[in-house]
């Protein structure tokens, strides 16, 4: 009877952001589909109403089916039968319900039988599904791959593969190999072109592949014999119907146990090249990864939501020393801080999603007609923001979701350590978020450029200039102070002009920027709705002291100090 969309009105708040007007206009292009498809919107209000109503379906399925199945799925897990992955019973039920509801090609154009929704409502659906079962979102969320096909594949390939995904087939992205994890340039899986039949064939091993037995897989492979780096890699589509891949094993994992993580052996597997050769890693995988990182942001927020709710329910119910434990400062501080981090994570998630929405729509429009000069500038502006915000989002929210799961379990005390409460599973599920699709450390490598180029600072200045109510000016003053401190810390590190020194402090600087940005986003949320005031207060207070600690660490550090940390030669 639960509805995970309607029982959380923060979602509707984020869905109704003022920028949606622009996003919908770009996505629907003057509502050109309205007479071609009976389910296309007539105008902005109609489109927004559809997003809301469809999210209600997502919320209902998640509340009634996915969440109640989560415990059983975690215990049962998938298995291999006759070289096929068989999902846990609950996983299959979840998938059947979402397929029946037509929620598989949410962002795909209508001509490929998708819903043509913007990224924002799609990511919101992922946020909701993740709260219900963080492992299941991996299978459902791999519809991201379809977005990559839509961006880079030929029209013929789109027509053949995309409707299949819209109608319920699942996907996989086969990147990692035993010797190519964080360093994807080392991918070895071989793609060979056969002159006789004009087809590509794949040979080699992939490891840690989520939903490796999906119907449609995107495979990163070395098409240029003799090369050793990323420039020799291309992307291919492999169709499961060829049955040329052996599923060697399913990993026995700590968490997200319902999601089958496969080791695959490709043996003369026929595959289709996507786009151009040699662009596999540098262009297509980067796009795929950016989409996936946004997805992990949504997963992290959903897990945080689940962890917070479990903690709150337990703290309100559990009595010790004659009162409910939520009345003790040690517990209510934890809870309020959890909520502040959750709200900060969610506002960063939707802000980033909006940037991605806008630039991607421009990109698709540019395939149909030439963009005007203003449009091109606008696209570049949002693409740049998306590029810098995506690693910040993935890094910050995945770390927060682990912190939330940890604190939630702590509030449960001994009970949380037992399998009797969902938090035990949530805690295990949370752990992967800081690792896959690029570890936090790798997100920092991407995000530090936002620090050194001044991109974060530019955006912070824009936030600073936005109009807010007089009673909120105090928050802004604090954030301005934090910004000055951040600039000073950046200067101190940059002045050393040493890359290793920059890498050493990179995470500290990225986090400082993150605290300021999320502080502003919460402040702007409060400008629209007072319900976020408490979280804004708590988050900015916490961010200020955490930034001060980092600034102080940097101020008292010299390049020689790295010697204390370096492994002995």
């Amino acid at each position: 009877m639960a509805n995970f969309f309607t029982d959380n009105t923060d979602l509707l708040f984020h869905l109704q952001h003022p920028l949606m007007k622009k996003i919908v206009a770009l996505k629907e292009r003057d509502f050109q589909d309205k007479d071609k498809f009976d389910y296309a919107p007539m105008d902005f209000e109609d489109a927004m109403d559809s997003y809301e109503k469809v999210l209600e379906i997502v919320g209902e399925i998640c509340g009634d089916i996915v969440a109640p199945n989560a415990e059983g799925v975690d215990a049962e897990g998938p298995k291999i039968v006759n070289n096929e992955v068989i999902y846990a019973k609950g996983t299959q039920e979840n998938l059947d319900a979402l397929v029946k509801a037509g929620l598989m090609g949410i962002t795909l154009p209508r001509k490929y039988e998708g819903l043509n929704f913007p990224i924002v409502p799609y990511i919101m659906a992922a946020d909701i599904v993740s709260r219900a079962d963080a492992g299941f979102v991996n299978i459902w969320g791999l519809q991201d791959c379809a977005e990559t096909i839509n961006e880079f594949a030929s029209e013929d390939q789109k027509e053949r593969f995309l409707p299949r995904i819209s109608n319920g087939e699942t996907a996989a992205m086969d990147l990692t190999e035993p010797d190519a994890g964080s360093d994807l340039q080392a991918v070895q899986l071989k793609a060979t072109y056969n002159e006789k039949d004009g087809k590509w064939y794949l040979n080699g091993v992939k490891r840690f592949i989520t939903n490796g037995d999906g119907h449609v897989s995107l495979v990163l492979a070395r098409s240029e014999a003799g090369t050793t780096d990323g420039r020799g890699l291309s992307m291919f589509i492999y169709d499961r119907n060829h049955k040329k891949v052996t599923i060697r094993r399913i990993e026995n994992k700590m968490g997200i146990k319902g999601s089958p993580t496969c080791e695959l052996v490709f043996k003369d597997a026929p595959a289709e090249l996507v786009g151009q050769t040699r662009m596999g890693l540098i262009k297509y995988v980067m796009a795929l990864m950016n989409g996936a990182r946004l997805g992990i942001g949504a997963q992290s927020v959903g897990i945080s939501e689940a962890a917070y709710r479990e903690a709150l329910a337990y703290a309100e119910e559990r009595k010790q020393f004659g009162k409910t434990i939520i009345e003790f400062p040690a517990v209510y501080e934890l809870l309020a801080t959890m909520k502040a981090r959750l709200d900060a994570s969610r506002t960063l998630l939707y802000e980033t999603s909006r940037y991605v929405d806008i630039y991607k729509s421009y990109m698709h429009i540019s395939e149909e007609r030439q963009l005007t000069k203003e449009e091109r500038a606008d696209m570049k502006y949002y693409q740049r923001l998306a590029d810098f915000f995506t690693p910040l989002l993935k890094g910050m929210t995945s770390e927060y979701c682990n912190q939330l799961a940890y604190d939630s379990l702590q509030i449960h005390g001994g009970s949380g350590f037992m399998k009797d409460y969902p938090i035990e599973r949530i805690y295990r599920d949370a752990r992967i978020t800081t690792i896959y699709e690029g570890t936090t450390q790798l997100q920092v490598v991407a995000a530090i450029r936002g620090v050194t180029t001044g991109s974060y600072l530019d955006r912070i200045r824009e936030f600073e200039a936005m109009t807010i109510k007089p009673e909120l000016h105090g928050f802004r003053r604090t954030l301005i102070g934090m910004t000055e401190e951040y600039e000073k810390a950046v200067r101190q590190v940059m002045e050393v002009k040493d890359n290793e020194y920059l890498d050493f402090h990179a995470r500290r600087l990225v986090e400082m920027a993150g605290h300021i940005i999320m502080g502003y986003l919460l402040l702007l949320d409060t400008e629209r709705d007072d319900r976020f005031r408490t979280s804004t207060e708590i988050y900015i207070r916490m961010g200020r002291s955490e930034n001060r600690a980092r600034a102080e660490y940097i101020a008292n550090c010299t390049i020689d100090d790295l010697g204390f940390f370096k492994p002995a030669q």
Binding site: M1, D38, Y39, P41, K53, V54, I57, K100, A101, G102
Partner: protein, 290 residues
């Protein structure tokens, strides 16, 4: 060879999650305090209909409901899940109907629809829990009926094969078509609303809805006939007034009592096999379990 299926559905107050305002002081249901929902077992019936539609190409599913104007929601909910069309039977003259008057009105509407192969309904509604309307409709239409259906296995060549869920087991029965089948809550749950159907049909309205609301999308219904939900009043179905509404309802509510359970009696059991066996017998006898 497709089937023409009519699903009888009712909008009911959600009595499953009852809060403290659920009953009025006089002991009647406070409909305003409870959300109006699609009667759960009618959803089971709809699912059976939709499965037949998938199995037998060219089949159609029509939702028929009787109620106030807002019961058009039930038709829309049906359309969102895969029904083809629906009829809302609504008129002040139907107000106060008991099961007899309701089944009379519905049977008149079914006659008016005329052509059908199968009528499906939920076993009972959660507001009255009578389980009478389905069977009474069958009697009034002079059709055979199969109750407590859990799964419709086949409906072809003029025959229907149905698995029934009974108190102590299941039985599979065959009957002729057309007939009335009432579906049990143990049948497969109804599929979720489908996103594309929801977006297609969300502007479907009855004539009264179009007249009473300031509707932004009224013009659409001219080009898109599927956005018009048929609305029938007494004048649209051939009825005899004396069988309608309060006049046609022999059921009279004599007294309503608020029953508050209070645990006063207690029994001490030793935990021996004998005591446990006796407790089990007692619970089976008074239908607490079994």
């Amino acid at each position: 060879m497709g089937l023409k299926i009519i699903v009888l559905a009712k909008q009911v107050p959600d009595t499953r999650n009852v809060g403290k305002d659920a009953m009025k002081a006089d002991g009647t249901v406070n409909r305003a305090a409870l959300p109006a929902i699609f009667n759960p077992e009618d959803l089971n019936a709809l699912e059976q209909a939709l499965r037949l539609k998938e199995k037998y190409k060219g089949s159609t599913v029509t939702v028929l409901t009787m109620g106030p104007g807002r019961a058009a929601d039930i038709i829309r909910e049906g359309l969102f899940r895969g029904a083809d069309d629906g009829y809302l039977l609504t008129d002040r003259a139907f107000a106060g109907s008991d099961t007899l008057a309701t089944s009379y009105a519905i049977s008149c509407a079914v006659r008016k629809i005329k052509s059908f192969d199968l009528i499906l309904a939920g076993r009972q509604a959660i507001d009255g829990d009578t389980a009478q309307v389905g069977p009474q409709v069958a009697e009034k239409l002079n059709l055979p009926q199969i109750t407590y259906a859990e799964e419709i296995l086949k409906a072809e060549k003029g025959k229907i094969l149905v698995k029934r869920r009974l108190e102590r087991g299941v039985e599979t029965v065959e009957g002729p078509l057309p007939c009335v089948v009432t579906v049990n809550g143990s049948a497969a749950p109804c599929r979720p609303r489908a996103a594309k159907l929801l977006m297609k049909y969300k502007h479907a309205k009855t004539m009264s809805e179009k007249q009473s609301q300031s509707e932004d999308y009224i013009d659409m219904s001219a080009d898109r006939p599927y956005l018009n939900i048929a609305e029938w009043s007494v004048n649209d179905v051939e009825t005899d007034d004396k069988w309608l509404g309060l006049a046609g309802s022999p059921t009279k509510v004599k007294k309503i009592e608020n029953v508050v359970f209070q645990a006063k009696e207690s029994k001490v059991l030793s935990g021996s096999d004998k005591d446990i066996e006796e407790l089990m017998k007692e619970l089976i006898l008074n239908h607490t379990i079994g």
